[in-house]
Amino acid sequence: MNSLVSALPGRRRAGLILALGLLLAAPWVAGPYLLSVLVLALYYAYVGQAWNVMMGFAGQLSLGHALYVGLGAYVSATLYLHAGLGPWAGVPIAAAVSAAAGAVIGFLAFRFGIGGVYFALLTIAFAEFTRIGFEHVDWLGGAGGLFLPVVERGHLDIVDLRGGPRLFYYVLLALTVAALWLCHRLRTSRIGYYWLAIREDPEAAQALGIDLFRYRVLAAAISAAMASVAGSVAAFYYNSLTPADSFGSAKSIEIILGPLVGGLGTLIGPILGAFVLTGLGEALRALLDVTGHQVPGATQLFYGLVLLLVIKYLPGGIWPGLARHLGLGNRVG
């Protein structure tokens, strides 16, 4: 963390510390509703950061990232329910399972030279295949889903990750900060520069002696492992998981909205995008509620419109322009 903060110019450092301070204090000011919105925003910030490693850094478009999130949720929840293994042991195992799944799919795809739209479709196909498969495994709750025992209000048990929204807020905040630090380290490491070269021009990268296959598979595995942790935490937060919600294609799209709107391939973009989208979406829902309208689908329609407008008019996302505007430097995101 120190290296991230000290490497930044003054204004950026001040901005980051201010944002972190606000986020640390937020649960003591926010009411229950606002806190649940913030938990959601942090969740999408973290999982968007995970997807960004694969697409934003290494240039491999995965439209089936719900697979890794869902596997994380199911593995850690199943270990807790059926083997009595708490999340501190279960989450690493789940992350390893997701990383292995990411590596296998990456291995199959990149070995056979599958790229572009074919790779995107392959990732959707694996996620959908898994969704329908899980719907038919009774041991995992089938289509009806898996439920974790709900704890009473006020109960706090960090060992088993049982508690109220405030606990999950801080867990997700810690994960988001850790992911930001990890991505910063990755991006300024040898691996990060290899990814950049592969993303910008695979042929030139190969000519320079970069092992395309190895670094693409590595990006898939790291991204999948990171995504997996989000799934585990969400499973313990919501206490219920179904194959449709965990692996569905709508979920995969929700994951990638934040980084696309915030700024693909930047460090702050996925976080900013998640907060802007979640904030605006909830504001719209609240506005409709106040005016007495229950409109299912309104926020999703709104997300679609925002995505369309951003893709059309701000291809790089919100962050790069905003960063320049605030004088936060435009060299790195």
Partner: protein, 289 residues
Amino acid sequence: MSWDVYANVVIGGILTGLVYGLMALGLSVIFGVVRVVNFAHGEMMMVAMYLAVLGCGTWGVDPLWLMLPLAALMFVLGYALQSLLVHPFMTRPDHAQFMLLVAVGMILTNGALILFGPDARGVQVDYALDSFEFGPLLIDKVRLYAALAALAVAAALFGFFRLSATGKAIRACADNYRGALVVGLDVRRLFALTFGCGTACVGAAGAMLVLLGDVTPSLGPAYTLLAFVIVIVGGLGSMAGALVAGVLIGVSEALAGLILVPSMKSMVSFGLLILVLLFRPQGLLGRSA
């Protein structure tokens, strides 16, 4: 189970598969010429199905009569979408195009959810349960009519691309984009026409599919994936491949529904998609790249 159960299921699968094939043909035409991957294909199909249900409810006609008006309407929508929204993206990176159409799909799905609600809507025709009997074989009337209509539309499209001057010009754009510009073809208009032809297929297929099943707003992504499975199995850009693969997928899903459980039938398609992508990415009938 005796053989005639299987034979009936296979025939049903072939007929349904032809309608699927027509829908996938639209995707294939758009990709083969415009090189745009229509990630909103199934969502457009869902919109066409709703329009068919509304039309039948309003005028009380058979959805098959709405096939041509719907195809025309969807043609106009596709033409406008390509020339206004998608065309400026032709020179943008692939993923920007995908995301643009994913956004269009989200807007269509949730727009339909807001307008029509989450409940399934369908059409009832008086011959819904009738069938032709050939000895032990039973052929559903609705399926047969829908499949014949699908074949007719596919043949018309095929004829348009092979025989008309415009069709020839469109194929020239697909073969050599720069060459088409050099000889003075209006590529922007031809691409919009092609996109319109693709969505017209979807419109016609939508009118047929309401005979075979109900429509809900959330159907879109499943149909998009189905169209992709068919088009990739048949070979992206191959028109005949789309119809053949449509039949193949229709039959394998019908048999999977019989042998396994109906809710697992899509797994067979996705499994097939994974295998084809891994081992024969150019498709079963496609030329190797």
